[in-house]
C-alpha cells in the first residue's frame, strides 16, 4: 500500500498536443493519501476515466510524474504498480468457472495454492457467490458477472490501490446500494486506497471520504461531501452536487451587499469590490419562502417528493428552486423569499471567492 502522488500530470490522446483544448486531462497536482476512499465525480467525458487509467498505468501521461510513496512509477506497467481495477462493464473470462475467474490474478502471480484457495473462498463469501464457484461464468447474468469483476479486483490483498471505473452502472438499483455498502465495509476492513469513478453524486457522496469533482478535463474541487455541499469552489460543483442544484443569480457585489435589479441581498462576508462576472449562489435548502420582507417571487409549481417539497419559482426572470420541509405549509400569500446569508456563495468568473468574515455587532442579518 502506498500514497499516490500525481505531479503536474496532464494527458492528451493527441501525440502532438497543441493548445490546452487538446488535453483530455488538464494539469492535476494531488496526493492521494494511503488507505482512504476517494470518489471521482463528474459528467461523462470530463476526464475521470483518463485520470484513473493514468493512475493504474494503462495510460502514460503526456506530462508530469506519478509517484507511489517516493518511488517514481510514471513509466511502469500496471503489473509493476500492483493495482487492481474494476471496469464499467463486466469483464469475465467466459470459459472459466467463477472460482477460476477469482483465482486468475493470484495464479498469474504464482501464489501458493493453499493461499489462493483461501482467498477465493473469502472473496466469494463476501460477494455472495460461494455456492456458484464451480459454475461456468459464461451463462451468468450481468449482475453476477460484475460481482465476479468486483471480486477479481479485491482478491489480491497486497495491492497499492483498487480503482473502480463506474462499476455499478450495469447493476440493478436495489443491488447497487447493497454492493456499495459491501465495498465500503471492505474498505474499512482492509484499508486499501480506493478510487471510485462515478457520475452519480449519491454514489460518490455515500462511498467516499473525499470527493474529487471533475469538469471539462479539470479537477475543480476536492473535498468532503460536506465541503462540496456548503462551499462549492466552482459554479459547476454547485450545480452538479445537490438535487436540485444550486441557484445562481447574476449580481453586483459591494462589501457585504449584493445588488440585483435594484434589490439588495445581505451577505455573510465582506467581499470588497470584486471585478469580473459575478454570480450569487444559494442552495435550495437555504432559500425560505415567507410572507414578510424579502425578494419578490412568483411560484410556478410545487413538487412533493415525500421528505421535501420542491418549489420552483421565478425571481427577477430567473427560475430558482426552493426546498421546503415536508411540514412547511405553503400559503398563497407567500410571495417573498429570503436567503440565509451565511450560506451564500459568491462566484467570480465561475470560481468561488472568499470574503472577510464580518464581526457582527447585532444579531441576525434579516
Amino acid at each position: 500500500m502506498a500514497s499516490i502522488t500525481l505531479e503536474h500530470i496532464a494527458h492528451s490522446y493527441d501525440p502532438n498536443p497543441g493548445g490546452e483544448a487538446d488535453f483530455a486531462l488538464k494539469e492535476v497536482n494531488y496526493t492521494w493519501e494511503d488507505g482512504r476512499a476517494y470518489a471521482l465525480l463528474g459528467p461523462s467525458g470530463c476526464g475521470k476515466t483518463t485520470l484513473l487509467n493514468l493512475i493504474s498505468g494503462l495510460l502514460t501521461p503526456t506530462r508530469g510524474r506519478v509517484l507511489f510513496d517516493d518511488k517514481e512509477v510514471t513509466a511502469s506497467s500496471t503489473a509493476e504498480r500492483n493495482i487492481a481495477q474494476v471496469f464499467q462493464f463486466p469483464v469475465v473470462y467466459d470459459t472459466m468457472t467463477v472460482g477460476e475467474n477469482l483465482a486468475f490474478p493470484l495464479r498469474n502471480r504464482r501464489m501458493e495454492r493453499q493461499y489462493v484457495r483461501e482467498r477465493v473462498q473469502r472473496i466469494a463469501e463476501m460477494i455472495g457467490l460461494e455456492s456458484d464457484l464451480d459454475k461456468k461464468a459464461r451463462g451468468l447474468t450481468t449482475d453476477l458477472k460484475q460481482k465476479i469483476s468486483l471480486g477479481r479486483g479485491m482478491v489480491r490483498d497486497d495491492v497499492n490501490a483498487i480503482l473502480f471505473d463506474e462499476p455499478l452502472t450495469v447493476i440493478d438499483p436495489h443491488l447497487k446500494w447493497e454492493l456499495r455498502t459491501q465495498l465500503k465495509s471492505l474498505h474499512q476492513e482492509f484499508g486499501h486506497t480506493m478510487i471510485y469513478v462515478t457520475h452519480d453524486q449519491t454514489e460518490a457522496l455515500t462511498f467516499a471520504e473525499k470527493v474529487v469533482v471533475m469538469h471539462d478535463g479539470r479537477v475543480v474541487q476536492i473535498g468532503t461531501p460536506k465541503e462540496l455541499f456548503e462551499t462549492p469552489a466552482h459554479v459547476f460543483v454547485g450545480y452538479f452536487i445537490g438535487s436540485p442544484g444550486m441557484n445562481f443569480l447574476p449580481v453586483a457585489v459591494e462589501g457585504n451587499k449584493a445588488h440585483i435589479d435594484g434589490a439588495t441581498i445581505s451577505l455573510g462576508q465582506d467581499y470588497g469590490k470584486p471585478n469580473g462576472g459575478l454570480r450569487l449562489g444559494i442552495r435550495p435548502e437555504f432559500v425560505r419562502l415567507t410572507k414578510g420582507d424579502g425578494l419578490p417571487v412568483r411560484i410556478n409549481r410545487i413538487q412533493d417528493v415525500g421528505r421535501h417539497k420542491f418549489v420552483n419559482a421565478t425571481l427577477f426572470d430567473i427560475e430558482i428552486d426552493i426546498a421546503a420541509d415536508e411540514g412547511f405549509a405553503i400559503e398563497s400569500d407567500m410571495t417573498k423569499v429570503t436567503f440565509d446569508p451565511e450560506k451564500i456563495s459568491i462566484f467570480c468568473d465561475d470560481w468561488r471567492i472568499d470574503g472577510k468574515t464580518i464581526v457582527q455587532t447585532h444579531g441576525g442579518a434579516f
Binding site: N53, S56, L58, S77, T78, A79, I83, A84, Q85, F87, Q88, F89, V91, Y93, D94, T95, M96, F104, P105, N108, R109, K135, K136, R138, G139, S149, R152
Partner: protein, 263 residues
C-alpha cells in the same frame, strides 16, 4: 427431379430409359473408385482445415488493429477471394511449371525435383498450397472481425490481472472468436469438400487419379463416360453426404454452445 429419375434408370441413348431400381447405388457403393475418391476428399478437407484455421488465426492476430495499415491489410487479404476459381487454377498452373513458372523454376534451380503433373506428392502439395493461398484470408478476415469486437476493457483487465500473452489468447481471444471460427470451419469444410475448378484446371485430377476428388470423379463419370445413371446416383449421394456432415457439424457445435451456457 431429372437427376433423381436418372439415378434409378438406365439409358442406351435415343431417350430410352429402363427402370433399374437401386442398382446404381449398389454398384457405386461397392466400387473402389468411389471410396478412393471419398478418402482423398476427406484427407484433403482435413489437411486444409488443419492448415488454414490456425494460420488464419495467426494472421488475424498479427494484423494491425487500426489506421491506414489496417485498411491496406484488409484490401490485400481480400484480393485472393476476388479471383475467379479457374483463374486461381491457371495462376498456379503457370506458377508451378518447371520451365517458366516462378515456383517451379525456383525449386528446380534449388535442386529439388518438383513436377506437379507427374509426381503425386507434388500435385497434392500444389493443390493444398493453392487452396491455402486462396482461402486462408477468408478465415483470417472472419477471425479479425471477431477480434475487433472484443472491448478494450478485456485487454486492460488482463493486463491488470497480469495474464500472459498465451492466457490472453486462450481465455479472451479464442472464446470470443468461437462463433466466427465455427462459421469459418463450416464454410471451409463445405467448400473444400466440393472443390472442383481449381484442381481441375491445375492437375485435371492427375497424375493418374492422385488428385481426383469426388467432384472431379463425378464429372468424369457424367461427361467423360456419359454414365448418366451412376453419375446421377453419385451426385445425389454426394449431396446427401455434404448435407449430413454439415448438419452433424452444426448441431454438435450449437449444442456444445448451449450446454456450456447452461452449466
Amino acid at each position: 427431379m431429372t437427376v433423381v429419375n436418372y439415378s434409378f434408370q438406365d439409358s442406351f441413348g435415343g431417350n430410352e430409359f429402363f427402370w433399374v431400381g437401386l442398382e446404381w447405388y449398389r454398384e457405386l457403393l461397392n466400387s473402389e473408385r468411389l471410396w478412393d475418391a471419398f478418402g482423398r476428399q476427406l484427407l484433403f478437407s482435413f489437411i486444409i482445415l488443419l492448415i488454414e484455421i490456425p494460420l488464419g488465426i495467426l494472421v488475424a492476430l498479427s494484423m494491425p488493429k487500426k489506421g491506414f495499415s489496417a485498411s491496406i491489410c484488409l484490401v490485400l487479404m481480400s484480393l485472393p477471394l476476388l479471383i475467379p476459381y479457374n483463374v486461381v487454377g491457371t495462376i498456379w498452373q503457370v506458377f508451378g511449371r518447371a520451365d517458366i513458372g516462378l515456383l517451379g523454376r525456383t525449386l528446380s534451380d534449388l535442386g529439388i525435383s518438383y513436377n506437379y503433373s507427374q509426381n503425386a506428392f507434388d500435385a497434392w502439395a500444389t493443390v493444398i498450397a493453392m487452396d491455402v493461398w486462396h482461402w486462408t484470408s477468408l478465415v483470417a478476415l472472419l477471425c479479425y472481425a471477431g477480434l475487433r469486437s472484443i472491448p478494450n476493457a478485456y485487454y486492460q483487465a488482463a493486463e491488470i490481472d497480469q495474464a500472459s500473452r498465451w492466457s490472453v489468447f486462450r481465455y479472451i481471444e479464442l472464446p470470443k472468436m468461437r462463433g466466427v471460427l465455427m462459421i469459418a470451419i463450416l464454410l471451409r469444410f463445405m467448400d473444400s469438400f466440393m472443390i472442383y475448378t481449381e484442381p481441375f484446371v491445375l492437375t485435371g485430377g492427375g497424375p493418374g487419379n492422385a488428385t481426383t476428388f469426388l467432384s472431379i470423379d463425378l464429372v468424369k463419370m457424367a461427361l467423360g463416360q456419359f454414365d448418366l445413371g451412376p453419375a446421377a446416383a453419385f451426385s445425389l449421394m454426394y449431396f446427401l453426404v455434404i448435407l449430413l456432415i454439415s448438419y452433424v457439424f452444426y448441431t454438435v457445435m450449437i449444442s456444445a454452445d448451449k450446454s456450456e451456457a447452461k452449466r
